[in-house]
């Protein structure tokens, strides 16, 4: 807006009205052309060349990768070996200051999903080493040690961990339903990164506004809301939004070394389950009747039969939503705006349409680009929808299958290795039975 008024103001003062309008046209046409020939100096003259300092961000990359590796090793050691909640909180504070306030929350593993997606979809874009390492290391650690990354390394996780005051229990049905959102978010984030080369997961990162002490107003409001929510709901972003958490959930149940709640023999006192703010501790169920088993098998059969239908429905539903998704892409938005302006459906200009006018690109070219993007969204929405259907189906199956537990056990998918249950367990180390610990609890 500043440009328009400034330019008009200048010309109105220096020239009569009609000439001013003519000059605006001339100026617009000659945009960025060489209006004045380069001078011919009488004496030898050396043109100062613009300096081109090389990227400095690359140097940080190696430090970041090293810090990530060390922090993950330390988190795994603290969570599994020393079982120290204080140690995990200390490491979380370090991560909050290093990955959060010092590195301003960038690069992070959550956003690195998009780099991987973009590199996979676009041959011209090479995956930066640092993004690749940030994407893969926490997943590899989850394969062996569970979600120790979430515990005290992730800058998004630790801020929620630290502000938590009095967590309420989220009802299981609500927890399961909201737990599907991360899969949707993951799918949409990957779709946008792959097609639009727009990183929506980064744009909507609620906590980065605190690390950078600024940001767009809607993100600030979202961030403040999330932070307030985090004081009484355990890690709302991690559980109900985080797309990287969705990946970790899939991987963590395969982990080789698992966290154990009690150092000794479980006395089934329920204190650990009360202490867990994330609903990640499952109560024992020994008395399952034959009728319950039969019911469980019947449910599993139905769900397995229904899985292809869920996948199909997901694909269809997302395909139907593809035009809406494409509408978020800036090029599509611009094309719609220009089309509306051409037909006089809207008054005035936006910054975007004004910039487009100045570039002098024909509107037909813009519309061609927009249609192309539209087509890509339309094609990829099948894949995205099928993935969402699959994620929904698998969640339903995992909920319905009856599992035997002789004692309180950690659900590795949901556990973020915060270590609260360690201190809640009344069984001391000295009470540990003499036999091999690992044999007592698996049933």
């Amino acid at each position: 807006m500043r440009q328009a008024t400034g330019r008009a103001g200048l010309l109105r003062r220096s020239l009569p009205g009609g000439a001013a309008a003519a000059l605006v046209l001339v100026a617009a046409a000659a945009f960025a052309a060489e209006n004045f020939p380069p001078p011919e100096f009488s004496r030898p003259y050396q043109f100062p060349a613009p300096t081109t300092p090389s990227p400095r961000a690359m140097a940080f990359a190696y430090v970041d990768m090293a810090v990530l590796l060390v922090a993950l090793c330390l988190a795994a050691y603290l969570a599994l070996r020393t079982r120290s909640r204080q140690g995990l909180v200390g490491l979380a504070l370090f991560s909050l200051f290093y990955f959060g306030f010092y590195r301003q929350g960038c690069i992070c593993s959550v956003g690195a999903i998009q780099n991987v997606a973009l590199a996979a979809a676009n041959g011209q874009y090479a995956l930066p080493l640092v993004a690749g390492v940030f994407f893969i290391l926490p997943l590899l650690f989850a394969l062996f040690f569970g979600r120790v990354f979430c515990a005290s390394v992730c800058p998004l996780g630790v801020v929620q961990e630290i502000v938590m005051l009095r967590p309420v229990k989220v009802r299981p049905w609500l927890d399961s339903a909201l737990g599907l959102v991360p899969y949707v978010y993951l799918g949409v984030g990957v779709l946008f990164a792959a097609i639009g080369s727009r990183f929506v997961i980064c744009e909507a990162d609620p906590f980065i506004v605190f690390y950078r002490r600024g940001g767009p107003m809607w993100v600030v409001l979202f961030g403040v809301g999330m932070l307030v929510l985090s004081t009484f709901v355990g890690r709302p972003y991690c559980r109900y939004l985080c797309p990287y958490g969705a990946l970790l959930r899939l991987v963590a149940p395969l982990s080789q070394w698992r966290l154990r709640i009690t150092p000794g023999e479980c006395i089934n006192c329920h204190l650990c389950a009360d202490a867990c703010p994330y609903g990640a501790i499952k109560a024992p169920n020994l008395e399952s009747t034959a009728a319950q088993k039969a019911e469980s098998r019947r449910r599993l059969r139905w769900l397995l039969v229904g899985l292809p239908f869920m996948v199909g429905f997901g694909a269809w539903a997302l395909h139907a939503a593809a035009p809406t998704l494409a509408g978020v892409h800036p090029t599509v938005q611009l094309a719609v705006r220009v089309w509306q302006e051409e037909r006089g459906l809207v008054q005035g200009k936006t910054d975007e349409s004004e910039a487009f006018d100045r570039l002098g690109i024909p509107a037909a070219e813009l519309h061609r680009q927009a249609l192309d993007i539209h087509g890509q969204f339309s094609r990829w929405s099948w894949v995205l929808g099928a993935w969402l259907g699959l994620a929904f189906g698998i969640r339903m199956i995992s909920l319905s299958v009856l599992r035997h537990r002789r004692e309180y056990q950690i659900d590795m998918a949901a556990c973020v290795a915060c270590g609260r249950c360690y201190s809640a367990c009344p069984v001391g180390r000295e009470q540990a039975p003499s036999e091999d610990l690992s044999e007592s609890g698996i049933g």
Partner: protein, 191 residues
Amino acid sequence: MAGNKDRPKDGRLSRRELLVSGLRTAGVFAATGGLVALASRSDAESTVWQIDPAKCTACGKCATECVLKPSAVRCVHEHEICGYCELCFGYYIDQRVDDAEAAENQRCPTGAIIRSFVEEPYYQYTVDESRCIGCGICVEGCQMFGNGSLILQIRHDRCVNCNQCAIADACPAQAVVRVPAGSPYLLRTKK
């Protein structure tokens, strides 16, 4: 009974354990293999952000949207295509009293453009990068009336290369693009 089924006493793995460890090994190989393949593609290069001067409309958002304060964007002067005008519209405001180099006559809000005499009637304009805030007010004047030799560029000695550039989100002309890290500047004179 269930315990016996899951963990046979003779030390062999149970079916479930075998499946899990198989999946885990497959996961490790798939993940590392896939990433190495993506990262080592020869035809692609890792990227940094840069402003394409051909698309830039000098809207001024570079100065305000960058996560760095002041912004990583600075004005760069490509002297080779400069007209060395005595009356530079990147330097002077439109309604000045005379051609004195007084602050109230200058476009630049921080006085970052230094005007020095070369020979009659040519003047050289140099950007003092330590003062520049990347607002693009001079760039706008030069684009409209001059040769467009003043351009905005992301200075990579300052840029932290955010995964998603905040200026790229806000840029109305979609002028902030990813460029290969090996050639991180988009100058008009560079072919």
